[in-house]
Symmetry: C2
Amino acid sequence: MKQYLGIDMGASSFKYGVGSSKGGLLHFGTVRIREKSLEHVKQNILDILEDVKEYPYQGVGLGTPGTIDRKTGKILGVNPNLQFFTDISPAELFPKDFPHTVLYDNDANLMALAESCLEPCRVCYGVTVGSGIGGGLIIEKNIFHGASGFASELGHTIAVLGGEQCNCGLQGCLEAYASVDGIRRQLQKAKSPFAGLDVPGMISRSKSDPLVKRVVADGETYLIRALSNVTTILNPDLIVLGGGAMDLGLYDINKIRKEVFSRISLAHRKDLKIKIARFGNRAGVMGGIILCERA
Amino acid sequence: MKQYLGIDMGASSFKYGVGSSKGGLLHFGTVRIREKSLEHVKQNILDILEDVKEYPYQGVGLGTPGTIDRKTGKILGVNPNLQFFTDISPAELFPKDFPHTVLYDNDANLMALAESCLEPCRVCYGVTVGSGIGGGLIIEKNIFHGASGFASELGHTIAVLGGEQCNCGLQGCLEAYASVDGIRRQLQKAKSPFAGLDVPGMISRSKSDPLVKRVVADGETYLIRALSNVTTILNPDLIVLGGGAMDLGLYDINKIRKEVFSRISLAHRKDLKIKIARFGNRAGVMGGIILCERA
């Protein structure tokens, strides 16, 4: 069985693993991005390659944040969490003499790809909720990229017309309300003493503090609306919710399912399942491996 | 050159024509639906077949309102404008001994298909604004149907959470605010003396009556938001706006273009064109013909 190296680049760490979709992961690891510079993340990649050198693999599949221009193969626009990572092809992170092909795609696209392979589905929409909000559309097990590579940017759909400033420069984006960073920024703006909480802290504080409760509930409501609209436009039979904040339970999957179902037509409800991502924090790595298997 | 009969079923009339995408229409006609019953529309079809009998054609492509379940081939759910037209395959409108194949699809899908063939594009989203609001997504010149046939129901995305009751049974749908019927219902609710106006009347009255002005402007704003979100999710390189109300100029295409562009990222703006449908009221007929050509 052919094996591949999957790497998932996040804002604060790389996750990686060697394996195959059928055989699972032989090895899984994490390296921290301690310094947000190109030189440092190139060193991270060397560390990963060193760590997996005993495991045979035939290629690399890399998931990265940011939008990739399919025409140039380069990251377009500045990612506020990884500002140096723009106008570059993610394959350039690897040494010049690296012997394997490096395939890459947006991290949320790869998460959706991995999850879509876990059960029968024709149209799968995957959403990651973490520092930001990402989306990925899988049609018949293939990533849908749109006309130029920028499809599925769910986090930058409009939640509130003329609303909060988003990291991306636009106003009122879903990400500015429903992502972990968005919730923190809202709490900060309202001078809440709880603006610095991590996700478990946010969840527990939302039970006692009315402001935290409201901001988290609003985030959930905007996410529910966005998912309802995605369903009405795309008629998926599977929606998968993942990412760090979903894994930790920031939003309630049962409530999301119930509320989305109440906001879509019978036709759209009929074949739809809404689930938590089963690969958890390994979905991006597995998506990278599947990307290689499909090439 | 092979020719086909294209038929576009609306709430108040059938439009039809014989021709081909390359050669255009040899013949174009309209018959009114005077009575909203299955027997009457079957007679309408007989009248159309009689009218085109001199023109050779190899098959029929029919556009219908409503959502078509791809598994059963039948219309699912009740269309408020054509209440009898449910749980039936549109091909059943034709006589049992009709010698040609009848293909059919949602009318907005066929409009989008026809328009997408007029210029180079990879991802085209077509929108019809009339009594209702329809949408169609064309990927590499193929209609995208979603998992079960209900994709692209733009009119039933949520404009206002918990908002106006829509004909479809849901609340706050875009169609309840931005369609011609939606605008009329809103004016009626506000006891406006102008609730019965036709589209040209609405446009002219919106220049002098503040309530008509506001309701039409709100409809346009919600449409702009929906188009911005469709763009961020699907990354189309072509958006085409058609339907009776757009043809008559209810909404300003230049304003829509400018406002959508201000609400999407640079990446999504880069390759996007937003245009008025060029086939006008013949787009559905031409889409039916193209559906046959592709079969």
